[in-house]
Amino acid sequence: MAELNIVEKVIALESVELLQNLTPDQLARIASIAREVKFLKDKVIIEPNQPPEALYVILDGSVKISRNGDELYVAHQHEVLGSWALFDPEPLAITARTREDTRLLRISREDFYDLLADNSEITASIFSTLVKRFRQLVEK
């Protein structure tokens, strides 16, 4: 399967909740640092007790999320793994393992921070999303 072009990457990134307030142009800038990665079946994407280094968007395939061997959830196409990892370097207590051959879009935290440093309006939009999310949590 051919590599994703920038428009396809942006369409994939539109499903990330954290990025939902960004304009297509801003998403395109994030897409430019997003790399397509492929994992064969039964490979670990996120390990427990390891600091997560990237956010992943599933392009095709599926990923099993488990804790201490217990399956919690199965993520499918356009779902996101480790979206808060971009801001929180604390290790996650879960394992993410492919159930089949899986293609993902990977945004590394380091590249993301470099991008934010140059694009303050993206930072502002993401902050706005975080604040809204926080407010919803408080109001619940």
């Binding site: 072009n5 920038i6 942006v10 369409i11 539109e14 304009t23 297509p24 142009d25 430019s32 440093a117």
Partner: protein, 904 residues
């Protein structure tokens, strides 16, 4: 004694004349109105008058303030004078008929006279003098006001025997008219300042519910409000006693008028003046808030005791002088201190509540209390003294309570560092506050210590050195930093050994807060500063070396001997980034002609080194560094310093910056920052370069240009912002808007796929950005703040705001701009229609719209359009897509090649 400067004499003369004459007029009216009332009516009518003045007078004063806020100060003062003179003549005439009710009207009028013309005098002064001038000149104006009152009182006490009480109203009217002439002199001297000023100071708004809730919540506020209530109730009772005794003592209205005039105009004013100017500061610094607040009830209590023992003019007069003089001096200052620890907005709201409502309510309550005591309970004057003494006892208890509340509130706010530093600095001589601050620095908490030290340093004559010595070894670097900083300010050399020990023990990686202050202090007090600086320059901790380098700027000869080209070369090549930073800073001593080191350091991988190099380049201003500085504009970590450094070169590099800004081959990340540099250069030439770049192709650069122009106009409105180029660009942007809108209209109804939806979102975002640019352009032609407010209203689309914004734009925009802009804010169908009429932009079918977008030169729009064409299987567009796959950038090319694969 008074520092009056050139250009201030005439303004000061007319302003002082205004106050002298207004106070003169007022101190005629005050004794006359009261004497005529007392001569005509029984003393039992006085409580009713107090209630009337509190109610009707308060209401009329409130109406006056509300009306005055809406008009200019000049108009308000003119109207006030016209009404005052007319009323005085009318009252004089009507009093001639002997209507008893006219005396009530007269008394209410006098209370309003004080609120309007006297208060307005100080408002005029506040607008005539700047804050700095006011600090120097208000003392003199205060003397003028006291003199006016004394002259008025003296004049009244003499002339009443010749012309009678009633005719003095005409003298007051004449003085009021003279005061207006003085005001016209003030207007002439102060130009536009008074025309722009409002007719009354806008009071802080307050809601009764909020204030009541706050009073319920803050014990501190409960005490304040209780003291204020007692102050006004006691004021009314003391005045009643004084008037009652005066009425008995002076049966003849002329003698009574003369007595009251001398009493109020001369004695009361003089005593208040002496207490305020010579004793208040002393009392506050020696007795603190609590003591200051207790003086008033204590002295009133003693004076009332005298009244009880021997009720005569001397005792009641003493009580009246005591009450009034201590209220305007000690009590006012004490209350100001009491308000101090409250949060600023609560303090302002409470003050507004007291000024607008509560003082009148309290006086009205005082009238009611008097009515009950005198009319219904038939208490005599001397027995009223016992009631007053009772009130003063409660008052003293409240003052003690107030002091405790003050101390605990200050302590709480000190702990959270939320005390209003500026206000406290003025009053830090207060003994209680000083004691609290001493407790704070003994607390051991670094934040409190540094805060307490900074405040104590402001206390006049406070021996801070002992505290500094005891804290120089504190475990917190923050505290040590404050100690060395304050010791340097005070030139206290007793901590030199400690500072050197601080530097000896400093290691890279440890908290550096105390290093710079320690270096600065050591070099400031050391008898061998140059030699010490030379040693510190080779210190392994770069911050020590850097601080020493900065301090050595005072010794240029020594600096030149130490900082040799070899020294710089060695330091610049060091693997230690801190050492390279020092090298970058040191280059400014000789320049780097011999080493060329700064070019390398400007491109250093370490941001700290690069920043120091930028600062040195800015100090040296060699053109040869410009290229290096421009390259650092791409780096977010160093960008700010690079921008500042380039701006430092000033106008002579504006041409170079223009070349970079307009050069399509330069990196966008660099071009985007050039407007920020130009905005800081702030000359007509930089404005012209920005205006000439308004139509650059890249939208991010164009927006940066507009933002820079908006900021430049905000800070330098006097520059010329080229009407024609702004209008030309406005039409281009509007046309772009209409074209995008037409494309969006066709795509919105014909594309449901993911790529089409992305294209629609992109177009919507582009339209929003274009609208912002249109408003930014308007901000270069019309008042920027108002245009920004209109933009926000249009952007938010809240019904009322939006309508108001449309009306505003419809009113101020010239016809040509209005014709283009207002339809953009209308319904979609109208936008399409106007686009056709004004710019010939027709609706298009989807392939035609996509074709135009692919050719627009906007790479992201082109990429989305290509993806949409592929999604919609529009093979008619294959030629355009093939062209893009070959000739455009990498990302659009990839999208185009993927589209060709789908379409083939």
């Amino acid at each position: 004694m008074f520092d009056i400067r050139e250009g201030e004499y005439l303004r000061l003369f007319f302003m002082a004349l205004y106050l002298v004459t207004v106070l003169f007029a007022y101190y005629i009216l005050k004794p006359v109105s009261r004497a005529m009332f007392l001569a005509k009516f029984d003393i039992d009518n006085l409580p009713g008058l107090y209630i009337l003045i509190a109610g009707v007078g308060g209401f009329l004063a409130y109406l006056f303030t509300k009306a005055a806020i809406k008009t200019s100060l000049k108009a308000a003062v003119t109207a006030s004078f016209a009404v005052a003179v007319t009323c005085l003549v009318a009252i004089w005439w009507l009093l001639g008929f002997g209507f008893p009710w006219m005396l009530y009207v007269f008394s209410v009028f006098v209370s309003i006279f004080s609120i309007t013309l006297v208060s307005q005098g100080w408002l005029v002064a506040a607008n005539v003098f700047t804050t700095r001038e006011a600090k120097r000149l208000y003392g003199l104006l205060g003397v003028g006001a006291v003199a006016g009152a004394a002259f008025g009182g003296t004049f009244t006490s003499w002339t009443v025997y010749y012309i009678g009480s009633r005719n003095l109203l005409l003298a007051s009217a004449a003085m009021t008219a003279l005061a207006y002439l003085a005001f016209l002199g003030v207007v002439r001297q102060s130009g536009q300042a008074l025309v722009r000023a409002r007719g009354a100071a806008e009071e802080e708004g307050f809601e009764f519910k909020d204030i009541l809730l706050s009073i319920g919540r803050y014990r501190h506020l409960q005490v304040i409000i209780s003291i204020i209530a007692l102050t006004y109730i006691v004021d009314v009772m003391i005045e009643y006693q004084f008037n009652a005794i005066a009425k008995e003592a002076f049966a003849d209205v002329r003698r009574l008028t003369a007595f009251l005039a001398s009493f109020y105009g001369i004695w009361l004013n003089l005593v208040t003046f002496v207490l305020q100017f010579f004793l208040t500061a002393f009392v506050v610094s020696h007795f603190g808030v609590g003591g200051t607040l207790q003086i008033m009830p204590l002295t009133i209590g003693l004076a009332s005791l005298a009244t009880f023992v021997t009720p005569n003019v001397a005792s009641t007069g003493s009580a009246r002088i005591t009450e009034s003089a201590t209220r305007y001096s000690f009590n006012r200052t004490g209350m100001e201190l009491l308000y101090l620890p409250l949060p600023t907005d609560l303090k302002n709201r409470t003050k507004a509540f007291v000024d607008i409502f509560f003082d009148r309510l309290s006086r009205g309550v005082g009238g009611v209390v008097l009515l009950v005591l005198t009319v219904y309970m038939n208490l005599e004057v001397r027995h009223l003294s016992l009631v007053v003494i009772g009130f003063t006892l409660v008052w003293i208890v409240l003052s003690i309570r107030a002091k405790n509340e003050y101390v605990s509130t200050v302590r709480r706010r000190l702990e959270t560092r939320r005390l209003d530093l500026e206000s406290l600095r003025i009053n830090v001589r207060d003994r209680d506050t000083v004691r609290l601050l001493e407790q704070a620095i003994a607390s051991g908490a670094p934040r409190q210590i540094t805060y307490g030290l900074s405040l104590l340093a402001q206390a006049p004559g406070y021996p801070l050195e002992k505290a500094l010595a005891s804290l120089a070894d504190h475990s917190s670097p923050e505290v040590r930093a404050a100690v060395f900083g304050l010791a340097r300010e005070r030139n206290f050399d007793g901590l030199l050994d400690r500072a050197l020990a601080e530097l000896r023990s400093s290691r890279p990686g440890a908290d550096p807060a105390a290093i710079r202050p320690a270096v600065e202090y050591a070099l400031a007090v050391s008898p061998e500063a140059p030699a010490l600086a030379a040693r510190l320059l080779d210190h392994p901790h770069h911050l020590v070396a850097q601080s020493a380098l900065e301090a050595l700027a005072q010794y240029p000869e020594t600096l030149r001997q130490i900082i040799t080209p070899d020294w710089i070369g060695e330091a610049a090549a060091s693997p230690d980034a801190g050492r390279r930073t020092v090298a970058a800073a040191a280059i400014r001593v000789h320049g780097d002609k011999d080493t060329g080191a700064l070019h390398k350091l400007l491109l250093d991988r370490d941001p700290g080194v690069a920043e120091a190099a930028c600062r040195t380049a800015a100090a040296l201003e060699y053109r040869t560094y410009i290229e290096g500085l421009l390259r650092r504009l791409e780096d977010a970590d160093v960008r700010r310093c690079a921008i500042e450094a380039l701006a430092q070169y000033g106008e002579r590099i504006v041409g170079t910056l223009a070349d970079v800004l307009l050069d399509d081959t330069m990196p966008l990340a660099v071009r985007r920052q050039i407007p920020r540099v130009l905005q800081r250069i702030q000359t007509q030439r930089s404005a012209e370069v920005l205006l000439a770049s308004l139509d650059v192709q890249d939208l991010t650069v164009r927006t940066a240009v507009l933002k820079a122009l908006n900021k430049l106009r905000d800070s330098h409105p006097q520059l010329n912002y080229g009407r024609d180029s702004v209008l030309r660009q406005f039409h281009k942007e509007a046309r772009y808007y209409y074209e995008l809108h037409a494309a969006l209209a066709s795509l919105r109804t014909n594309g449901n796929g993911t790529a089409a939806r992305l294209l629609v979102r992109t177009l919507q975002a582009r339209l929003e950005a274009a609208l912002e640019r249109l408003f930014r352009l308007l901000g270069l032609r019309y008042p920027p703040k108002e245009i920004y407010a209109a933009y926000l209203a249009v952007h938010r689309r809240r019904s009322e705001e939006f309508t108001a914004a449309l009306e505003f734009l419809d009113t101020i925009l010239e016809r040509e701009l209005k014709r283009v802009l207002l339809p953009l804010l209308d319904e979609d169908s109208r936008v399409v229609q106007v686009g056709r009429e004004l710019f010939g932009v027709d609706s298009k079918d989807v392939p035609a719209a996509l074709r135009d977008l692919m050719r627009s030169g906007d790479s992201w729009l082109a990429a989305c359009s290509v993806a949409t064409a592929a999604e919609l299987r529009l093979r008619d567009l294959s030629a355009e897509i093939s062209e893009l796959s070959r000739g455009s950038g990498q990302e659009v090319g990839e999208v185009a090649r993927a589209a060709i694969a789908v379409l083939s």
